[in-house]
Amino acid sequence: MQTQSANKTLRILLLGAFLAAAWLLWSGLYKPLLLGLGAFSLVLCLWLAQRIGAFEENSPLATVLNLPRFWGWLLVEIAKSSIDVARIVLDPKLPISPTVVDFKTICKGPIGQVILGNAITLSPGTVTLDVYQGGLKVHCLTEQGAESILSGEADRRAAAITDY
């Protein structure tokens, strides 16, 4: 118990130091007003993070380091599906075939599920409607979009960077 709360304090202090450094480096101005605003937002951020339980488990540092790899793949997917959706929108016949798919993700932790849900929403043509106990409900603009969701590629990639 003792070490657990010590770990938590350490995590709070680490995040606080990181946020303070980010504020100082980005603003580059050291007037009392701006420093005061910085201190205020720092405390606000730490309080909000504490409120959602961000300090209860180990910080997902490995996941953060793995993110760029995932983003590279996601960027290509976003570009491809953007062109698809743009083509559908501009087509006079408006060839949509809205489909809802339900599936269970293989991501175990909440962070993996958030990354997967957000990645699905981020690519045009698919929107996550609900995430509940590892199950996702996704609305797709076309049946092809639904098929690509069910192929599970995004699921596997999100799991690969969060579960290790």
């Binding site: 980005w26 501009l90 849900g117 043509g125």
Partner: protein, 115 residues
């Protein structure tokens, strides 16, 4: 070199603007809230990536570029979160996805994860 960068950034910003326009057209043409959200996500992902990358090329290697990257990352993290809040609120308030009407056979496919 300067000119190449300029042309590239103009192309990026113009395509980004085009995607904003298409997203707007889509939000008007598509039939209901769920399908309209797909058009809106053209604007807030693809368009913002293109426009901000175009501006980054104008800013060159400077603090401004790093700030623009941070803005892009924050937009791409908060955008889908807000979309999820809207979509989930629509679902919870009883708005049914239109899938059943358009494709009855594929509307409710409680599909197993294709592992």
């Amino acid at each position: 070199m300067e000119l190449t960068l300029d042309i590239l950034s103009w192309i990026l910003m113009t395509t980004g603007g085009l995607f904003v326009l298409i997203g707007g057209i889509g939000a008007l043409r598509l039939p209901n809230i769920y399908t309209r959200m797909h058009a809106a996500s053209l604007t807030d992902t693809m368009a913002s990536i293109l426009v901000l990358t175009g501006i980054m090329l104008q800013a060159g290697f400077s603090l401004a570029t790093i700030k623009l990257m941070a803005i892009l990352v924050f937009l791409l993290l908060t955008g889908p979160t807000a979309s999820y809040a809207i979509a989930n609120a629509a679902l919870l308030s009883g708005m049914r996805p239109d899938a059943a009407e358009t494709s009855p056979d594929k509307a409710k496919t409680p599909t197993e994860p294709s592992a």
